[in-house]
Amino acid sequence: MQPQQSAVDVGDEQISHSDLEGFSKIHIDEVIEYVNSGLRSIPPPLDLYRRYLRQRWDVYELDFTQDRIDWAERMTDDELDVFQRVASGFHHGERNVEAELPTFMMGADEEDKVFISSHLEDEARHTVFFDRFFTEAVGLDEGSLMDVLDSSYELRSNAGPGVTGLLSYVSDELAKDPYNPRNRVRYATIYHLFIEGVGALSTMKITPGYCRRRGFLPAYYKGFTATCRDEARHVQYGMGFLQDSIRKAPALAEDVYEMLRTILDMNSANGNQASFEVLGLNTEEVRRFNIVQLTRKLADVGIPLPSDLQEVINRMYPEVTGG
């Protein structure tokens, strides 16, 4: 007799094998849970690479015609304002991680390099996805990718350079010494653990959840949900890297903590207090989800949470960023 599969396992299987069109029928919350459930058992890098080959989707298959109509005719001004602030955070987050990932690849093992090459292609595709959304649905002036990024930059809800700015500097430090374990752990903490595993996962439900409830922006929903599935491979790889690094050298846990202290100092800036109520999500609920994600990720890495960090985490704001 075959063991009975749980509902989550069945959902995971459907999500794992869905094509782009199929994402219109899958709830974003199920995909977010798929990312978390993948952390129970982390596959080696070449297995993640094989999964990438199977799950890769074509960003140019999306048709934003209905999205443009919804954007221009069906959404309120308040909804448009908050929606594009959240989407802009992801647009710049995706571009940032695409641009900074090669430095992490430099000092990686050969199997890891193969996986990271697929990770890099994912991030490039996600950047093009948001570029297409902002030009074809929102109607920002078309031009180069940088022209569109410049146009959407002012829409971000983040205060100052944010975690994307910090990642750029951490990437500079890694480029100077790409095999240094402390540099690599700090990089994986801000990128894989925080930007992808906490910020993106906590705020990914905001705009697709709104699209699903209102029946708006179908191409955005499909592309964003497919993007979320890609993040599962990235977060799995990053958590595996951190687990392995700290298992070999437990003192590296202090680099994780120090990076998180800096990120949370930045996160506490008053300008980061975004509100998502207009899109139908309770901001406090998103904030609590953010805290749960960070606490879970530290448990996934296998390190305790120091009391000073716990206090700051309890006060943190939702971090709108993508990766």
Binding site: Y153, P161, L166, D172, M266, G271
Partner: protein, 102 residues
Amino acid sequence: MTGTDGHGAAETVDFLSEGWLAAVQVRLAAWPESEVTLALICDYADWLGIVDGYDIGKAMTYHRLPISVGTALDLLKVVYFVYELLGVMAGVPAAYRSPVAA
């Protein structure tokens, strides 16, 4: 060029020659090297862009202001300390009254 301070070589420079960069003042501070804990560098064209209003957060993210002394973590902590300080000051209910010409 005018002025010195306790560190001996701080200068205020008005670049007015030939009319280029006429509106910009730069304070050059030659601190003893051992006392510098954080310093950024910038090439001239990018500096002009920032003076002209290019977003400094973007300049940081796009590697236009690399660190020459210090660490990424120290830099971002300082940036956000100043950011919050300005936010607190802006929240003080006070108004500046321009001196009225006699």
